[in-house]
Symmetry: C2
């Protein structure tokens, strides 16, 4: 195969189908567990994602929400409006940017998000429990460099910044607490399917 | 950290959130491109997935469709019924298994699936184009061993068999054709975003 012939149709078909099947299987699992996690708070995944992003970015425009939440702009707007009506966030202008509207969580919105985070149980996420054998084998969670490269090519550099921002924010917020709890192996083992 | 302490809450939170974000981003991209691909055939993704699975398994039960299509049993049943009403498949019993109902494509269903496959253009799938730099760099498409292990832990060994079955079937059906077309680098380059 010379340099101009990068792949056969057959290879393309097999790879593309495999990746579609993988993506669907992963997301359907995450979606189910995410819904179960937040259902008692009267939120759907999009609403929870909006609260999460607005909290982590410390004020987010509708296009930030749409981009980092991987949702349509109209979805981002409609659910943000609904959250505003319930008093969880406000739409406002920034001091240094009068053109765009920013979403900021109200104390009630911050409180709700915090409540959901306090009931977060990693072992109830199938993809998390299913990653534990890798963590046990290699001593760390997988980092998926190839997938991250694919997502970077798809969504751009800016999209990737959410991963660092979330990490920093989670580290900062947990450092404020007296001690980070460490979960024992038995607890995980009992939750393995 | 001793053996009983496998992860901190902070690590769990960061990893779990990262994986959720990755899963959503990948699937939303695949979903959009898949919809675009088949929209002219009056099919939605679930219906196309059902035709595909029934074709590849050469007869599939509703629970096969639900499992390999990662959809609820009721979704699998309702969309299969709709496809039956349109004459694309039939429900029938197998000679060696009179208890279960199997779905088989009709010639009209096979024809429709074939039409969609003939208009499949890998470069129109964002995740595919976004994988090309990896293919160029390493000479092969990524295989995602860690993800495959996570999916195996989540869905079981049986679920993984779909990957081999699809691969065999695609190879067999393309081998029937006179020559597998090879796509040139320029075509891909022009479709890169």
């Amino acid at each position: 195969m010379n340099k101009d012939q990068l792949y056969s149709f057959q290879e393309a078909m097999i790879y593309s189908h495999k990746l579609s099947q993988i993506s669907k299987a992963l997301w359907k699992s995450v979606e189910k567990d995410w819904q179960n996690w937040i259902k008692d708070y009267g939120l759907n995944i999009n609403e929870h994602h909006i609260l999460w992003i607005a909290h982590h970015l410390e004020g987010a425009s509708i296009s930030d929400i749409a981009k980092f939440g991987v949702m349509h702009v109209s979805t981002a707007f409609n659910f943000s409006k609904k959250l505003e009506e319930q008093g969880y966030l406000t739409f406002s202008k920034k001091e240094d940017d009068k053109r765009n509207t920013y979403i900021c969580l109200t104390p009630k919105g911050e409180e709700l998000l915090l409540q959901t985070l306090n009931t977060y149980d990693p072992s109830k996420f199938g993809v998390f429990s299913a990653s534990m054998p890798i963590k046990e084998l290699f001593g760390r969670f997988p980092e998926f460099p190839e997938l991250m490269s694919i997502i970077r090519n798809l969504y751009g550099d800016d999209f990737m910044s959410i991963f660092n921002k979330l990490e920093e924010k989670i580290e900062a917020s947990l450092d404020d607490q007296p001690a980070s709890p460490v979960i024992a192996a038995e607890e995980i083992a009992s939750s393995h399917s």
